[in-house]
């Protein structure tokens, strides 16, 4: 099984200059918890719902007047959509991260893959099934 078989597609990118409130709205609309952040040319970071809570709200920053760039995690790692799930896990372990951006052969962003996506496709047992259903993004 390959990365493209389990990844989330329909990824939307936000800009570093967008407000945190805008990012939250995109997360709500897409029902996701993480978004890639891009500048003019390429992805430069990621922002999660948890980042919004711990780096913005908890620090008394107003989400309407705080930019995504101020609180995002900088640096993104990506993997080919044709890579194997084992390779994806290795990359995550190497970098100690839970999510990777996914690119096609031309380098375009085509999705995001998380450890949750991989776990859902790796465990046949009933408990695995529970995890499968519960760990929806």
């Amino acid at each position: 099984m390959k990365v493209r078989d389990v990844m989330s597609t329909g990824v939307e990118v936000v800009r570093g200059s967008d407000s945190v409130k805008k990012a939250a709205e995109v997360m709500e609309n897409l029902d996701v918890g993480v978004l890639p952040v891009a500048d003019e040319q390429r992805e430069v970071g990621m922002i999660t719902d948890r980042d919004i809570v711990t780096r913005c709200l908890a620090n008394d920053l107003n989400p309407q007047h705080t930019s995504v760039g101020e609180i995002m995690s900088k640096g993104v790692k990506s993997i080919s959509q044709d890579a194997s799930l084992d390779e994806a896990v290795e990359e995550m372990e190497n970098y100690r991260i839970r999510r990777l951006l996914v690119r096609n052969a031309s380098g375009d962003l085509t999705g995001v893959i998380s450890l949750g996506d991989i776990a859902r496709h790796s465990s046949p047992s009933k408990s695995g099934q529970a995890l499968h259903e519960i760990s929806e993004p």
Partner: protein
């Protein structure tokens, strides 16, 4: 859980560190507690009575996206009033099934007197489950969220 394995109870694996919030407290206070204590969910109380739950996700999709004044408006405005709980003497298997049925990853745990005494998460369960669950990956997945 595999048959033949000793029945494990929720209280053996639950997290007893619960941080409470009152429903009249400002929304921002919930965010501060989540940050300081590194938790993603807080039970909300009306004095002594359990009134609801608030999660980090609630703060984002119901708080940040709204026109609420997060520094002043109360937690009550965005909490989830319905709380699913389980007895501390229930089996881990029952907890897993309840999570599956309700499509949630965390349950409040109550003691014999019906008082909230802990929280059990899917991660807690995963950590105690059989190797069948492709251990390595799952363990990674169930680590507390990394920014």
């Amino acid at each position: 859980m595999e048959k033949g394995v000793v029945r494990m109870e929720v209280r053996e694996i639950m997290n007893r560190n619960i941080y409470k919030i009152q429903l009249s407290e400002p929304i921002i206070t919930a965010a501060k507690i989540m940050d300081e204590k590194d938790v993603g969910i807080i039970p909300v109380f009306d004095k002594e009575r359990l009134a609801g739950l608030i999660t980090d996700r609630d703060l984002v999709i119901r708080g940040v996206t709204s026109d609420l004044d997060l520094a002043n408006d109360p937690v009550r405005d965005i909490m989830s009033p319905a709380v699913v709980s389980i007895s501390e003497e229930s089996s881990v298997q029952e907890a897993a099934e309840l999570m599956e049925r309700k499509q949630i990853r965390r349950l409040l745990v109550r003691d014999k007197d019906d008082k909230v005494c802990g929280i059990v998460s899917l991660s807690d369960i995963a950590r105690h489950m059989s190797k069948k669950l492709s251990g390595e990956i799952l363990q990674e997945v169930t680590q507390p969220s990394v920014p």
